[in-house]
Symmetry: C2
Subunit: 335 residues, 2 copies
Amino acid sequence: MKENLSTIASRTGVSITTVSRVLSGNASKYRISNATAERIKAEAARCNYAPSIVAQNLRKRKTRTIGLLTPSLSNPYFAEMASSIISEVHRRGYTTIVIDTMEDEGNFNEGLTQLVARQVDGIIAVPCGQDHTLVDGINNDFVPVMLVDRYYEDYALPYVTTNNYKGGFDATSLLIDAGHKSIACIQGVRTSAPNNERVRGYRDAMEEAKLSAFEFVAGNEFSIQNGYLETKLLLSRHQRPTAIFALSNNISLGVLKALREARLRIPDDLSLVSFDNYAYMDYMEPPLTRVSQPVEDMAILAAKILFDRIDGLTPGASQLRLSPTIIQGESVGRL
Amino acid sequence: MKENLSTIASRTGVSITTVSRVLSGNASKYRISNATAERIKAEAARCNYAPSIVAQNLRKRKTRTIGLLTPSLSNPYFAEMASSIISEVHRRGYTTIVIDTMEDEGNFNEGLTQLVARQVDGIIAVPCGQDHTLVDGINNDFVPVMLVDRYYEDYALPYVTTNNYKGGFDATSLLIDAGHKSIACIQGVRTSAPNNERVRGYRDAMEEAKLSAFEFVAGNEFSIQNGYLETKLLLSRHQRPTAIFALSNNISLGVLKALREARLRIPDDLSLVSFDNYAYMDYMEPPLTRVSQPVEDMAILAAKILFDRIDGLTPGASQLRLSPTIIQGESVGRL
DNA sequence: AAAAACCGCTCAAACGATTGTGCAATTTTA
DNA sequence: TAAAATTGCACAATCGTTTGAGCGGTTTTT
């Protein structure tokens, strides 16, 4: 049924060692005769032998596995990221253990511990929360960790992220160029570095246009509900903004829901620019103008840097920000 | 640095066996004195010991891991399914290895083999292709396999899927009830069982309404491009249909793209019903009327049946079809 | 002809846990 | 007080590989 080296060894009349060496391609290196080698290979093929990866993992102290900690696979942004990472990892002959942290710091830390116990060779993570002691210790003492999207400011852990500042700045400038002055910004988690960079970009663009007096930042979660509630609040103010800058895809969905309830039309009644890109946004009412993050590039780069570290190479710069691009939709009106 | 049973044993002056028994909670079962047990626990806690899961896997011949073979994480339908499955698996104390087969039968089979070599305790798979000899052999000889969404017709492998026939029938009936007679159906992979059930539902609904003369089924892939090209072809016919039934979310995106290029408006110029549901569809132009598959229920049920088999329980019915629901959008016009 | 080199393979330890059995020392029972 | 039972732990095998060292026999070198 389940074959192993020893069953093959006894059937071919050689030692386990010899079988192992032949089947791992080291026959000539250890001077196994061609005749013996062929006999072993034939038997292995006949009985459909495949080595136990579990046993190899133990002996080699290497699992050819990497762990991926993602906050939410149901978010298309992270799903695409996971998809790209998994295929990059696969391309290198590794497999991926995926842990969905559901945006919870406890789950995140538990996942990290689990991955270390499973002796993954590397970890790619989108962190939750601000406490980086555990992940930092793991990166120093056990396996290389690579952060994607989110990161810890002023800290040494390597990461690949979007140039969120530029994204915030460009999106805001776009609205300003269209004549908007009163631009509200609905943000996500306030302790998230990308969020704060986006906000900083927004503020700088406003300031540069001498619109600081109109600055308005609200919100505290990257969720549909947060976008919905903050928009509800915004609309109830006596001075309604002419544009909204939503700092994530989910926030935008919430904004849209609130606007629809209020029977306000985009871009006639209000303009909207969203962070994040997704194919569906082209078919929305109207197609959204948005800041597209280079998801695939980030994934590939994160994998590359991680594997360089796994392979013992010391990568150069390992805190990288890739430029986002603006995708023009029809959700911004000229004033 | 990396602690193991032997370092703890030598520091506490007992045998490895004793340490193992204490730390795995079997102290009293093997009559280890309280004093010794406490001493060992204290030392383990002090040095932050965690057992090597790799070693446990080998010895216990169990990995507490399940493999998930998904065709494409960038498809929101499968991403949500993966998300639900991963959290169900996690809830049971297992971890998930995810393999993205990219809709390729070769990748699928390679993934299966890999998972078996890694000795996962069970496999949840959305299969690709029609040849089920490998997956079937694995299910019989190695680990339990559970199919989701797609399955092999007239074959014993257990699965959970949507009642695709009902989905096809209901969606078509809805269009018929709205007065449509000429309803085109754009299908996906023709060898896929769900696809064919949807088509069968479509045909039966047409027949029941005595509209067989208007039946029209085209297409061969669950992709945006297929939806796009088939719509282009449809529109170039001299008798244009009044409605399109698209058998997947991606196909619908392609339809929308083609209609937009032709400057045709939904539902005024053409009606559309789509298979699959996604939050974004509510914000599209117009919100789509669609057949929503019970993704989460399928995931939970698939996990339950798989774990029942892993635990040696013999589940009752294990080829299940869950009913889809229709979500009313505004993409169907009355004639 | 002795020394060196080579050939073809095996031994045994190791990776880090789990587990059935066994064995002294102590305590209880008869 | 001798036999029986209990206590508290250790020995050693096992899971399935990998790998450095070694060994007897043949061939080549000096």
